[in-house]
Amino acid sequence: MSVENLVSQLKSGLDAPICLTWELTYACNLACVHCLSSSGQRDERELSTEQAKAVLDELRDLQVFYINIGGGEPMVRRDFFEIIEHSIANGIGVKFSTNGAFIDKKNAARLAAMDYLDIQISLDGVDAETNDAVRGEGSHATAIRAMENLCDAGFGPFKISVVVTRHNVDQLDEFKALADSFGAQLRVTRLRPSGRGADSWNDLHPTNAQQRHIYEWLLAHGENVLTGDSFFHLNALGDPLPGLNMCGAGRVVCLIDPIGDVYACPFVIHDQFKAGNVLDDGGFTKVWRESDLFTELREPQSAGACASCGSYDACQGGCMAAKFFTGLPLDGPDPECVGGEGEKLLSSVPVALIPRPSMDHSKPARTKVTA
């Protein structure tokens, strides 16, 4: 079967997801300005330990090989280790994203003793100034300490996960050198206008010239740098980047949020992209296989306004979430279309028509009380 046939098969959906993200909690000790899930405070409807284990048992029966755990800060949950140990014991490998605040020496040793576990530590600047402007004061030092602890505990090659912004795009070589110095693997992903990212995207997203730099840098580094396939919109610039070059939302990927709602992907926490809840009759399996939303996403998608562009086969019209949260039509160009077609449209979108995330768990802003 050719690659094209495989991709068209994948677009029509699989019996179970390949890559499932599960955000365990909306609680977080940080308040990153680009948080995809607008996390901060715990949701009181959060799945219980038993409910979470039941979902894992279902994923085991579906032969989901591994899950990506995130949040919020997943290690905030008191049952964090209980949940990941249950997952791994059932043959579901775990990759979790963390800001590192809870990876002290003791936890690092515990994590290092586990098999089938990958850890991604988020870092958005090689220096504290660049990182902390996005992730909060002290978060650079926290992340580096966690990396040192994992390294000292002999965890092996963890991952450093970077969201590429206008301000850190010139640090790609330095990020790579930092990862190499820890024997770690570098992962870079695309900034999305989702969650609190809706409010920071204008200031943070790379310029078109920077996008070309990202593309060339990724092409030069090939499969040595992980991207979660998040930059396929850049393929319109030339040879394709490694990966499947397709939007997997509802087809091969999905998101389970902390309260069990199932969304098409981690970047579209909005009612329009909610397929159901793991606690519904039939559980996750029924949502994945039968929900109206996922069925619709597996139908052939229209290229719309992009149909006449010679690059559509390469970029696939870009990212559904990026279009949605900037108010652009889903069957048109990505806001970061390298041909500039998205940018042209952005200025004509009335602000009132730009969808807002359906949920916001941000902590209330603190105001200083002066005597």
């Binding site: 079967m1 046939n5 019996d15 090989f65 490998g93």
Partner: protein
């Protein structure tokens, strides 16, 4: 087949996942799945292809695919 590899049946063939090196590989034809599953029971690749009824004209494609599965350690040489 590597002991740390699991296969999940899919309409196009199967997904193969290596829990050790975390590689996910697509086996893009049901015949390829049969070969990978049974390869350990045969002394040579030729015997495995014969036993699963793969026509000789398709052998070069199968051998090249099996070779790349060796690189990703989905299967390994005894």
């Amino acid at each position: 087949m590597h002991p740390q590899v699991a296969l999940r049946p899919e309409p196009f063939g199967a997904l193969a996942y290596h829990y050790g090196n975390r590689r996910l590989v697509f086996l893009r034809h049901p015949d390829m799945v049969k070969v990978v599953k049974s390869i350990g029971e045969h002394p040579t690749v030729r015997d495995a292809l014969n036993a699963t009824g793969v026509e000789q004209s398709r052998w070069p494609a199968f051998i090249s695919a099996l070779s790349s599965l060796t690189t990703s350690e989905i299967i390994r040489v005894r």
